[in-house]
């Protein structure tokens, strides 16, 4: 009879790494999504081109390959990152590229009429974006951002390739040591699911908050 408590502890340690990667990766992805998404609608060709190149590159190559580049190839260029930094960077840049298209789509969805009202009221481009377009675009982004965040959570499993001891990595360790597949993988199944549930509940709460007033009484 195996004493599971130590092994479960190992998996929980991995869960913390997964959590850390998810939170930090999501933050970087969020920043990249807005930078590149707004860059895509810039009136400057160079900015648009740069944003497009970033998005197409990171959507068009696999996270697996990106992670290897960040961790194993960047050191040749003099940039050495810790496994966690490399993981956050690769995940954030990858998911950020998808997020950028979400930002662009939501901003575009706020129609011509709102933009024209801004011009007629003599708002600058920045003021229009900040006070009129983005507040209306944000609620449109959230459902897809939620998807992206969950995708990122599940994507964290690839970092075990660069020796980060995340949840999946630990489960494999436990499996190797105990010979049991069911227990470690059932455990991480539940843990991944709970984390994803937390993300979607959090996003739903956020969504309710930002859409408050748009369809009813101001509070």
């Amino acid at each position: 009879m195996t004493d599971w408590s130590g092994y479960i502890g190992l998996i929980l340690e991995g869960a913390l790494v997964t959590l850390e990667l998810t939170v930090l990766g999501s933050l970087l992805a969020l920043v990249m999504a807005f930078v590149a998404g707004l860059g895509r609608v810039s009136r400057f060709l160079a900015v648009r081109a740069l944003a497009t190149a970033y998005i197409e590159f990171f959507r068009g190559t696999s996270i697996f390959v990106q992670l290897f580049w960040v961790y194993f190839v960047l050191p040749f260029a003099g940039v050495t990152l810790s496994p966690l930094q490399a993981g956050v960077l690769a995940l954030g840049l990858n998911v950020g590229a998808y997020g950028a298209e979400v930002v662009r789509g939501a901003v575009k969805a706020i129609g011509r009429e709102q933009r024209e009202a801004c011009i007629a009221l003599n708002l600058s481009r920045y003021q229009s974006m900040r006070h009129v377009i983005l507040p209306q675009a944000l609620p449109l982004m959230l459902p897809t951002f939620c998807n992206n965040a969950i995708e990122l959570l599940k994507g964290t499993a690839v970092v075990s390739l660069i020796s980060l001891t995340d949840m999946t990595f630990q489960a494999q360790v436990v499996r190797a040591q105990t010979g049991s597949t069911l227990v470690p993988f059932a455990t991480i199944l539940v843990l991944y699911f709970l984390m994803a549930l937390a993300i979607s509940n959090g996003m739903r709460w956020l969504e309710r908050r930002v859409t408050r007033g748009l369809d009813g009484v101001r509070t």
């Binding site: 009202a117 011009i119 007629a120 009221l121 003599n122 748009l214 009484v217």
Partner: protein
């Protein structure tokens, strides 16, 4: 006679192969109330949109209040207007849209105060006081805290008028402001505009299909067809005794469709 506040000189507007405005020239005097009428696609709304700098022009010049609208003096000649120049010019002009274009995420009061606070640096308290006066004038003071989605079309349009007035433009453009309204709501908006015409000396340009209102409201009527002004004159001249055949045909159709003249 005062110098024109708007001087449109030989402007053309093309969308690809389609010519919407074809060498159009017209002047508007300060304080003048002008109604632009004519069939759809005749270019009357395009004129307003060009004046609000929502469209560019393909050729010609426009002078508003002594300055070029789409050009600015640079090294002794005229260069295309930059953002700063456009910002300065837009301050003189306000516009009310057919579909109101209120900001749905802001309450009525915030819709009115947003632009003065952002573009003129007016303090919040001052902006709100002025906004309440304007909302009172359009009969919407009691809805100051409502969201646009809670208002009827007529109420929305009255808020939109207050919002445009909050920047105190010299020129106001009204683009078919009653066309999207249920018939029973048209009158409340027209009443606000009548009040404006009497109480202010703003220059007002109005694109409308409400011939009765155009007749009572305007100092001068311009009849547009196919990107040109076919006929212009005092309301009684245009409506009682139009000289051009195209004007006659248009007015006959409108009357047949049940519009009062």
């Amino acid at each position: 006679m005062a110098a024109p506040i708007i001087r449109i000189d030989n402007i053309t507007k093309r969308y690809g192969p389609l010519t919407v405005l074809d060498g159009l020239s017209m002047d508007v005097l300060p304080g003048e109330k002008l109604a632009l009428i004519g069939p759809s696609g005749s270019g009357k709304t395009t004129i307003l949109r060009i004046l609000m700098t929502l469209e560019t022009i393909s050729g010609g010049h426009i002078e508003v209040d002594g300055d070029q609208l789409y050009h600015m003096p640079k090294n002794g000649s005229l260069a295309p207007a930059d953002d700063r120049h456009l910002h300065k010019m837009r301050e003189k002009i306000g516009m009310v849209f057919q579909h109101f274009n209120l900001f749905p995420h802001k309450c009525v009061l915030d819709n009115v105060t947003l632009a003065p606070m952002l573009t003129k640096g007016v303090a919040k308290a001052t902006a709100e006081k002025r906004a309440m006066e304007l909302l009172d004038m359009v009969g919407m003071a009691d809805k100051a805290k409502s969201m646009p989605a809670q208002l009827s079309g007529g109420q929305k349009q009255r808020v939109a008028i207050a919002r445009a007035l909050a920047l105190s433009p010299k020129i106001m453009l009204f683009d078919e402001v009653t066309s999207a309204l249920d018939p029973e709501l048209v009158e409340e908006v027209l009443n606000v505009m009548r009040k404006l015409a009497v109480e202010t000396d703003m220059t007002m340009l109005l694109v409308t299909h409400e011939m009765g209102f155009a007749h009572d409201f305007a100092d001068r009527i311009l009849f547009f067809d196919r990107g040109k002004i076919v006929e212009e004159g005092r309301p009684d001249e245009i409506f009682r005794a139009p000289k051009q055949e195209r004007t006659q045909t248009f007015l006959r159709k409108i009357i047949a469709a049940g519009h009062r003249v």
